[in-house]
Symmetry: none
Subunit: 199 residues, 4 copies
Amino acid sequence: MSREKGPDHSRRKERSRQAILAAARALVTEETYEKVTVEAIAARAGVGKQTIYRRWPSKSAVVVAALLALSEDADGQSVTLPDTGDLRADLVLVMRATVEEFADPSFDKLIRAVNTELTNDPTLAAEYREKLAGPLDEAKKARLRSAQKAGQLASDADLDLALEMLYAPLFLRWLHRSGPLTTAYADSLVDATLRAFAP
Amino acid sequence: MSREKGPDHSRRKERSRQAILAAARALVTEETYEKVTVEAIAARAGVGKQTIYRRWPSKSAVVVAALLALSEDADGQSVTLPDTGDLRADLVLVMRATVEEFADPSFDKLIRAVNTELTNDPTLAAEYREKLAGPLDEAKKARLRSAQKAGQLASDADLDLALEMLYAPLFLRWLHRSGPLTTAYADSLVDATLRAFAP
Amino acid sequence: MSREKGPDHSRRKERSRQAILAAARALVTEETYEKVTVEAIAARAGVGKQTIYRRWPSKSAVVVAALLALSEDADGQSVTLPDTGDLRADLVLVMRATVEEFADPSFDKLIRAVNTELTNDPTLAAEYREKLAGPLDEAKKARLRSAQKAGQLASDADLDLALEMLYAPLFLRWLHRSGPLTTAYADSLVDATLRAFAP
Amino acid sequence: MSREKGPDHSRRKERSRQAILAAARALVTEETYEKVTVEAIAARAGVGKQTIYRRWPSKSAVVVAALLALSEDADGQSVTLPDTGDLRADLVLVMRATVEEFADPSFDKLIRAVNTELTNDPTLAAEYREKLAGPLDEAKKARLRSAQKAGQLASDADLDLALEMLYAPLFLRWLHRSGPLTTAYADSLVDATLRAFAP
DNA sequence: TCTTAATCGAGACGGTACGTCACGTCTTACA
DNA sequence: TGTAAGACGTGACGTACCGTCTCGATTAAGA
């Protein structure tokens, strides 16, 4: 059915692929983003530049792929959020976890780099949304929907909007470094959102 | 007292400064951001590269300065928001204006470029916040405070948080292109925020 | 007696060998010499690169082999020059034939390529001399020796030197494109040489 | 009169030019010719690659320029050969000197490299002939013409041909390494040529 | 009005990284 | 088993910009 064109070299392919993504991750984490060059990634991965260009069209794509690869381990098993019945408690848990993630310096650098690339490349952004952000948002919306059914949220609440009001302020504070990311801040976002969409 | 070094050439200085900022603005607007190089700006402005480096430390700084210069016309006169007494109407007005701004393709490109630079350069981000975002936020907070005094918002409402819940979702939708920026969307952000911080 | 190693792939071997040499010849003839790459030869011959490297150590060797193969048809039968008894007439014939060869554009390109490789690789040069130039020179010297015996050349004439004085000027004019290769030029080389080594 | 387009930076220009030519000469002399890369020349000269490409279109051109620069010291003063009145003695002197030049390993490498480039690039060959070979040949022909007037050569002798018969065999022996370059060989070339063009 | 020194445009410079090409080796699938 | 196909690590190619430097040619001020 599929058009086979030759031997697949799958073992080498996979090995070099992993080396490249690991190198990209390491460099983004350790260095200034300007120092993350295709040549540096290739050198670090012990790989020729051509092997990178054979698979990805640009440095941006490699960096995004490096992030996506991190969550491909959990592949197959769909993401779900805790549902203890206590909506506020569950949301606070998730928001605090997010705050913690952003506090990790190497995660900070990686996400910041990825975010820069996504902002300027709609194609990459779409891929990112489809593979990573989409499923996550879906899981969060599922939790909200469950709360809605339980009468903890207004029956006509716009759940997409609710999600945005929860997360966008947090993300933007981090992105623009316009304020501290504290547990209290996370909590107050949850409270304000719950008030806005209360039954 | 002051060290006299010769003629001040202030007219030439000002002329080339304007030419550089205009060229930067034009290039960011017309081209892919990768094509906005210092050499291109210099060529477009009819200026030597050194004249750019004499004033700004990097391309990023020039681009940010180009945006800041746009709003320096309104310099001196402090920004104020309409205050008709009808809080919802006033906020809807402002939010819809913002939506329109983001819809303008050349403004979109300029802000996107500036945002990229701010994300990766805290110093620039601070300058931007001080000169542009700060005053604007202050004006918005002033309007909220006035509403609060009028009993239209909870007396213990966190106005900074309210601001973020209003704007962050809009900004992030635009930045990540994760949804349409419509009037209805702007309105529903206002409504949700007002519910969250109602008295 | 012979060590049998398996199926006799000699037919495939010979077929691919011919394909490679033909492809090399064709490419040298058609393209700029920089474009004659091992990859191009392999592609043109419908052969894997390894099949080339299994037989020859370098592109140079392939190109030289391509030229040598051209004259391997006459293999076994030793080369001889015409001997009509009229030395001048015989030499003029040979020299004019050489001039004509050099005038053929595809022969020109091939010889020029081979000459470049020989200049920079003594090993190849030795092989070339042994297989191609040597026998030819021997045949020419045989004709001169016959003339010498007939008293048409000085009995103490240095025949190697005579050969060089006949051919080197012609070859160098061609190699350096330092003058036209005409019949008259060929003839005057013969005349001058005959004067130099007359009895 | 001439169209001046800007500052001439002549000091830097000249300094880098000399550094590049010296580096090229050194590398050709020391290394395999394959190792003489534009990058290596640039590194050795302490110069950016662009500075080389700004002046010469290819490595070949640089190498040829490196040789030409060697004889630009004698610029202005036209080349002349000794003229003692004894033609044979004068020619023997010149031929032996040439033999010695070819015996110098670093000169050998340089000329071999230049010769390879000239063979494959008619434009470079023309430049070389105009600037170096031409004047030299003219000087040699002048010596022959003087001998011709003195009745030491046939009055109808083709001096261009005589020159070629003197030099081409020597050069080709060296190029193809097809025989030893000895004093005796040089002498016998002179003798044969004198016999061929005797009055 | 005429120096005179800061400033400018132009663009060459030493570099770094780009993305491409071909090298010679290695791996796989097929015949 | 030997071959075609082609991926791989390597390293040079020629180009684009970086940020610095050097050069004349404007300026506009004060002598």
